[in-house]
Symmetry: C3
Subunit: 138 residues, 3 copies
């Protein structure tokens, strides 16, 4: 049994939904771990990780849904205190969640054909993100 | 330390919320792993895994909440491109998340008495799903 | 490779968002595990675990968002059957999710500076919660 860590670098703007599947799979391959789990995680409070079919339509539909849940234009108490314009970003990230755990079998992330691991940038300014891929198993 | 994989087969229709606790627990027992974690995961982009008290009232209330977040009747860009009628399904699945990780202690999933592991079918047509249960630990 | 379990006790009232980062980190340190993953989990169907910047503004903004998704004042079928006043609590907990998995590197939870692990109490009455921290790794 072993544990292995890799990083994925992504450059983002607000509401970018970045397909990081290939980089995550590369990390799993580099780990030498055949069977176990991989946790893809954002160390930060304004970005999130989930899966989606990464096609242009849904890249508009997911932000539209987040706008219903945590709209940009309303009052946030976070904004009243910190004035960084990203109250909605924090709420969106907390609701989606900062990380995702995926089974690894035969050295492969067990995703569907039309299912990609994505980083969802919820913050309001360009960010350089360093995501973690942590793999445990045999 | 070991890693163990099992599959759970479920036949579903839209907005079925299927209690898979017994099958997930059976997989944990079969693994021979006493202490660790189990990841229950849907390899696909229109189904989700979470926990809920699996009683008839909430099986109506959760779909009602998803209808507020990602309603059926509105325009989805996914639909404009693919015409498969399931834009809302993808958004619902991405927001709930495709998988769930649960601690395993003494060979038992650490769930509450009124807390069941459920698969949430978000797609619009009947599906045969093969879910993964991946267990790691000692 | 090893697996380690600890408990975190928290006393809550409705919509308390309790910072449990220090206790979770203490559990990781006590585990002796340097590299792996920690799963922080609520065994119950009316509480949730996620991350957020734990500052007073967002502690009001997250409940406001949950009020949009699963408002208190509407009809829940759960309520029609069980009359415990917490239909919205179950829905909120299922959508956020009962647990969170975080990478552990060099004995440390890999969180951002302004990112805390929180327990979100969705139930309507004061609760004594015993959360699990399950750590696996080397």
């Amino acid at each position: 049994m072993a544990a292995y860590t890799a990083n994925i670098q992504v450059q983002t703007e607000e509401m970018d939904i970045v397909d990081i599947t290939a980089q995550a799979q590369k990390a799993v391959a580099a780990s030498g771990i055949d069977n176990g789990m991989a946790c893809i995680f954002n160390s930060g409070s304004t970005g999130a990780v989930t899966t989606i079919e990464h096609e242009p339509g849904l890249l508009q539909d997911l932000p539209a849904a987040l706008e219903r849940i945590a709209p940009r234009g309303i009052t946030y108490q976070h904004e009243e205190r910190w004035h960084d314009g990203n109250g909605h970003s924090h709420i969106r990230a907390s609701l989606i969640g900062p990380g995702l755990t995926v089974p690894v079998i035969d050295g492969t992330l067990q995703l569907g054909t039309w299912q990609q691991v994505v980083f969802v940038e919820c913050d309001v300014k360009p960010r350089q993100r360093s995501l973690l891929v942590q793999v445990v198993g045999d």
